[in-house]
Subunit: 339 residues, 2 copies
DNA sequence: TTATGGAATGAAAGCGATTACATCATGCGG
DNA sequence: CCGCATGATGTAATCGCTTTCATTCCATAA
């Protein structure tokens, strides 16, 4: 471990004051060329590494952004996360990442950590009702904060999202238009998660709009992972009167469901139609390729990061709320029901 | 924005000294109950939030760990990342995540950032030859550093990995044992990435060990993404004399390749066997389920985090190097070649 | 030659904590 | 009733940098 270098030390070695060293780094234009060069030279010779932590404290600002995400295990969140990180990196911000694993306590702990670390801004992937209080505290603290992946009614919070309800309704409408009347729904924990609840609403509204009754047996709520999709599909198709189409409100669930059909000897879409939601990369590589609702997850991340950093830099707490579009991607997993 | 609270301010309001407030937070046992309670009460009333940045500077330590990863877009890295983050969180460490996107400049920039931020430790997912110098600087700086996903010859660096060469050789051996003689290889950028190079070596050694010649036409190097796997497989199977089995050295490539077979009307494994590497969750959900080499990515992450934090806490720079086992997971995508 | 004003540099007060050390009560044994 | 060990609290230096303000330097114009 080399003797630790500080600006003070560099200053001494270069025969200048501490302030001059700081200037050599941040505003070299203020220094006469020879002075600057001497300082830089000494820094290089002694492998001086700037201490950003000290700098941030002194400057009373920070260049890290806190990001919570349910789990980067789900490729769809991995995509927005990557976009955020990419954009942040370009602007010299770092990302502290926290996976909530859908656990409110974990999330609360992460947010508390962000507050204590005095992050410059926060992006929440999804809004969980359970910690309204902390979120309010964040807003109150003045730290710019953005929720992504959903639209919020709450006026105090900004977001970059899309209309989950409308998207789910559109997909359900599509299945109905194909002629389906019994449409199953495999969906994440909608009682706890805003965006999932919206999707459920969309499904319900679509049925209702076409005078179809909502059969509770056709709705399965579980965790958004492959295995649960498979299991749910198994149950759905074992029903005395199975659905002719199934809408899985997340591609992970859909891909799991697809596997179940294979295991049961069912053909998609001949025996049952299957639709997903998200359009993760794998969706196009399934067999058959999955019809799904494309969510602009890369754009969400990119826009969110851009907007957040702008807010940070201008210091303007103005409302920023963006809704992006989703696209129904028709591939081969849906068709009209058999006659 | 509430008037910002500092320990000093709390001290004043509680009628005690700054030091007492600090103690109320970190070593409450040192205070008399009434004193402690008064302080805690004042903190609660004024919503005081501890400033970890200042604390870290003063204490000359930090509780953040820097983590670089090629891209969390690849589920296999997402898994180890998640495990690391989970473990770190338990111990009160935060993770600064950086995606290198396989770009040496990006990686260098990230590492420089870690150094400047005085992170407590660093985990590198993979070792790229291109920035040996920075890595040396890290080691020299005394910051505990760990490479994951590979084994290193370099004595200066610790790792938690597995034997990429042996794993690739085992898979190739398996295909040979099934009776294949023309075995294609679809593999990531092995000229630049250590672990990928090892896999290539394993493939080559297996062929060699069985007296089979390495046909360069059968080896395709590309980026480890679905689309490139698809494209590569298309090329391989269009060869005048196509392989009877293909080893894709990453599941992403394998799943892409699987799609290509569907599009070409080829059946797996009847017309061609296909093997992957990693065992991402999706591998078991493919059609047919993918035979692949399971890499203990969750364990790697968990162990790496544990080891790193231990090193941080003890301050012992002792060598820590762990190799975990891989498992050949036989599913339905490989079979003997047709007679 | 002497003001004069801008450019270059230095001095020093923070930023918000931690912590070694000093101080001041207490309660106990003698 | 005194001395002293112990426990509770306060004092103040420090961490490494930023930044305001003051100072010095020098070239230019009068």
């Amino acid at each position: 471990m080399p003797h630790k270098m500080t600006m003070q030390e560099i200053a001494r070695l270069a025969g200048v004051s501490l302030a001059t060293v700081s200037r050599a780094i941040h505003s070299p234009g203020l220094l006469r060329a020879p002075t600057r060069q001497r300082v830089l030279q000494v820094m290089a010779e002694h492998r001086y590494v700037y201490n950003a932590a000290a700098g941030d404290l002194s400057r009373q600002r920070s260049t890290v952004i806190g990001l919570t995400v349910p789990t980067t295990q789900n490729p769809i969140f991995a995509t927005s996360t990557l976009a955020i990180e990419e954009r942040a990196q370009e602007k010299g911000f770092s990302i502290i990442l926290g996976n909530t694993r859908y656990n409110p306590d974990t999330e609360r702990q992460l947010l508390q950590g962000f507050l204590e670390r005095r992050v410059a801004g926060i992006i929440l992937t999804g809004y969980a009702f359970q910690q309204e209080d902390i979120v309010r505290e964040i807003v109150a603290s003045g730290i710019p904060c953005l929720v992504i992946w959903e639209q919020l009614a709450d006026d105090a919070l900004d977001y970059v999202g899309f209309d989950n309800r409308e998207a789910a309704r559109a997909m359900t409408d599509y299945l109905i238009a194909l002629g389906h009347r019994r449409i199953g729904l495999i969906i994440g924990p909608y009682s706890r998660i805003g965006r999932v609840q919206k999707r459920f609403d969309g499904y319900r509204q679509a049925l209702q709009g076409h005078g179809l009754a909502l059969d509770p047996d056709l709705v399965i709520e579980n965790a958004p992972v492959l295995e649960d999709g498979r299991e749910a599909m198994g149950r759905l198709m074992s029903l005395p009167e199975p659905p002719t189409a199934v809408f899985a409100a997340s591609d992970l669930l859909a891909i799991g469901a697809l596997r179940a059909t294979k295991e049961m000897g069912l053909r998609v879409p001949q025996d049952v139609s299957l639709a997903g939601f998200d359009d993760i990369d794998f969706a196009a590589y399934c067999d058959p390729p999955l019809t799904t609702m494309r969510v602009p997850s890369h754009d969400i991340g990119q826009l969110a990061a851009t907007v957040l950093m702008e807010t940070i830099e201008t210091g303007q707490p103005q409302r920023r709320r963006y809704s992006l579009n989703t696209d129904l991607i028709m591939r081969a997993s849906c068709a009209a029901p058999r006659a």
